[in-house]
Structures are given as C-alpha cells and as structure tokens.
Amino acid sequence: MRGHDKGVKMSEVRYEAPATASAAVALLAGASGPARVLAGGSDLLIQMRPRLHGPQHDVQLLVDLKGIAELTALTEEKGGYRIGAAMACMALVENAAFIKMWPGVTDAVKLIGSIQIKGRASVGGNVCNASPAADSVPALIAAGAVASVLGPAGRRDIAVEDIAAAPGKNILAKGEIVTSFLLPKRAPRSGDAYLRFTPRTEMDIAVVGVAVNLTLDDKGVCSAARIGLGAVAERVLLVPSAAATLIGTKVDEAALTKLAAAISAACRPIDDKRGTIAFRTKVAGVLARRAALIALARAQGGH
C-alpha cells in the first residue's frame, strides 16, 4: 500500500475470505491481535495506510466478507427487503423494485461518495463505521431497519439507531458482524425521503442530513412517522419527538412548523469548518420540512 510517509514499519496482515458468516465470526472471535472485517474497504483501506503522524490502525487480520452469499444478497422477505451488509451500494440502487419501495433510502445511498466508491462501499460499512454524517443511516433509521448480527454467542437483532455509540465506534462485541438489514413491509400510503446539506452536490460529507418516513391513513392523516437526523450529534439520532409533531396531522403548515422546531431542539452539533452550531441547528429544521413534504408526496402517490 502506497503511503505519503514511506518507510513506516508495517505489520504483516493475514487475509481470509471465508465462505460462511459463521466461519467469519470464528476467525474474528479467535483473533489474538487486531482484526477488521473487510466489506467494500473504502474506509478501511484508507485507515490502514501507513503514516507517521496521526492514529495508526494496526491490523493483523482482515476477514473479507464479500465471498459470503448472505452478506452480498438483496432478498425479499416478509413483504420487505433484506439487504446483505456487504453488498455494493451500486447493486442496491440499481434494483428497480427496491427503489420503488424505498425511494428515500435509495436517495441516501446514492449520495455515498462517487460511482467508484459506491461500486465497492457497502451499507453495512456505512452503518458500522459509525460516522455521525453517514448518509444511509438516517434513512435506514427512519425506515425502521433492523440489523441482524451474528456473533460467537449466536444471532441477535439490533435496531440501526442502536449500533453507533460515538464517532467511529459501534456497540458490536468482539467477533460480532452485521450480516444484513431488514427493511419492513410498507403499509399502503407510505413514503420516505432523505435530504442533506452540503456545499457541493456530489462528493461531499453531510453538514446536516434528515430522513423522514411516514404513513397516511385513508383520510390523508399521518398515522405513523419515523425521523432520522444525521451530522448534528455524536451519532445519527432517531427523533420520536419530531415524529410526534406529524402523527395525527395532514402534514400541513402548522405541523411542519412544529416539526422544524422539534428537529432543531434535538440537535446537539459541534462547530467545525463545515458548519457552525447555529447553522446546523437552523438548517436541520429546514431540511426536515422539505423532506417531510417529499415523503408526503410519495405517500400520496401511493405505492
């Protein structure tokens, strides 16, 4: 691997490409040194680059998950979709039936990096790397996505909003891997949307990201809603207080005003070169309004 700081001593790395998820878990659980899973690698390979300054990610074992069928498949399940955690984002957003059911999740995944990055990067990586600004995560949280996690103690389900703990840190135990995400069956008159603010329209990192997923009853009243909020806290947030402003309304102007206020109240961002606290807090409310209107239109469009 090329590095700007050549001459840095690097440990040798063992590479394994198991054929089953249980074999991957056994390798990771049995590792004596630092071990990492390799899905798309678009974050990991950069972290592994040799450098003289900054944190050095020492890795002695790489477990490549892309040879495992259940981790790279997109399958219909219980009227919804199960997304393999290591499948390439491009493969997901090229699936016409998935796009129709989850246009907001699709929009979010499409915003991850370039075409080249999406050719490798996985939804599982986007979630497990635990960036507060990860684009797919607010949309997955709004969708009610549940991760299936396999570890030495067996399998467990974890809601996507519970996976990240802090920037770059997730709650998975040693030997645990996310194998897939289940997106539930859609009720009639449901729609989702994701919007982010970035200075550029492509190849940028969210300053704020908001996803809205809502369902209307047969009178056009919002009967269920979930809202994911990114890049304004140490992890992506599920915001039930914001969802509550929509439920029982026709997503009208009064509801949208309350929504924006609830979203801004949920923000606890940092100041950095990409956005100030005041800017992020304001823009989050604006994006929530706009995303809610897109989700509403999609719900009214009926699919």
């Binding site: 090329r2 790395v13 390979l45 050719g119 490798r120």
Partner: protein, 158 residues
C-alpha cells in the same frame, strides 16, 4: 508471510501475480504487472485517476486489495484501444482537446466507457454526476463532457 498467489483476468487475458495483503490493486497493476496506464492521484478514492472495472463495476483500484482480484474480470485503460485502433472515446478526447496534462485521462476514459455501456444516451447532467468522482485540474470539464457526448452520439450511430 508467504505472498498471495492470485489468478485473475485482466483485459481478457488470464493473469497471475504474487502480492502481499497490503498491496492495493493499483500497486499490483503498476508495480507488479507494469501496467502503468492506471494512474495514482490521491490514493484515497477521491480523484478517480485509478478507475478500473471489476466484474463490470467501476471502482478505484487504490481502494481494492490485489488479493481481492482472484477470480474477477478486470478491465483497465490498456484494454481500451483494439490494436492500433483507438476507442471512440479516446479519439473524441483527442478531437475535443479534452485533456491537458493527461494524468486524469485514463480514469475519465474508463469511467466514461462504464457510463455509456449502461446508459448510451445520457443527459449532460447524467454525465457530470457519473464523472463527479473523476477530478481534472486542467480542462475545467466542459471539453470532457463534450467529448463524452460526441462519443456517445457516434456509438449510437446517430
């Protein structure tokens, strides 16, 4: 540690090489196979100069390990011209002066071919979004977009 023995297909040719785990596909192409058409710009997936396709998917060779190439079908810039005949995209890049220093050009050509194989009649906007992962610091992009669209027209027989 023993090196990995990797058997793969590059530009239609069965190819084998030895590599260490840390070597990227870009390292392997350039340093082991001496296929230097694929360029290194940033080494972090931001510039697209190392664009290749793997099983038909456009990727950055700097963000893929060489060992991951086993059993895959890889296409690089070296496979674009057929003998002495330039690919339409290559010819149009020359005609439109869609390059200056040339470092980004192999990546743009590989990425543009990948676009047109899936979408033979893209809008300018679609071309710009598809090529957003390829950086050019010389041309200002307009000539690149024009070259791609002119090539697309010729490839469609229009």
């Amino acid at each position: 540690m023993a090196k990995h023995h990797v058997m793969t297909t590059i530009n239609g040719n069965a190819t084998e090489f030895l590599c260490e785990t840390r070597q990227t596909m870009l390292d392997v192409l350039r340093d082991e196979l001496h296929m230097t058409g694929t360029k290194e710009g940033c080494g972090s997936g931001d510039c697209g100069a190392c664009s290749v396709t793997v099983d038909g998917r456009l990727v950055c060779a700097c963000l893929m390990l060489g060992v991951e190439a086993g059993g895959k079908t890889i296409r690089t810039i070296e496979g674009m011209a057929e003998g002495g005949h330039l690919h339409v995209l290559q010819r149009k890049f020359l005609e439109h002066a869609a390059l200056q220093c040339g470092i980004c050009t192999p990546g743009f050509l590989v990425a543009a071919r990948s676009l047109l194989e899936g979408n033979p009649d893209p809008t300018d906007e679609e071309v710009r979004y598809w090529l957003a992962g390829n950086l050019c610091r010389c041309t200002g992009y307009q000539k690149i977009i024009e070259a791609v669209q002119d090539a697309a027209r010729e490839m469609r027989g229009a």
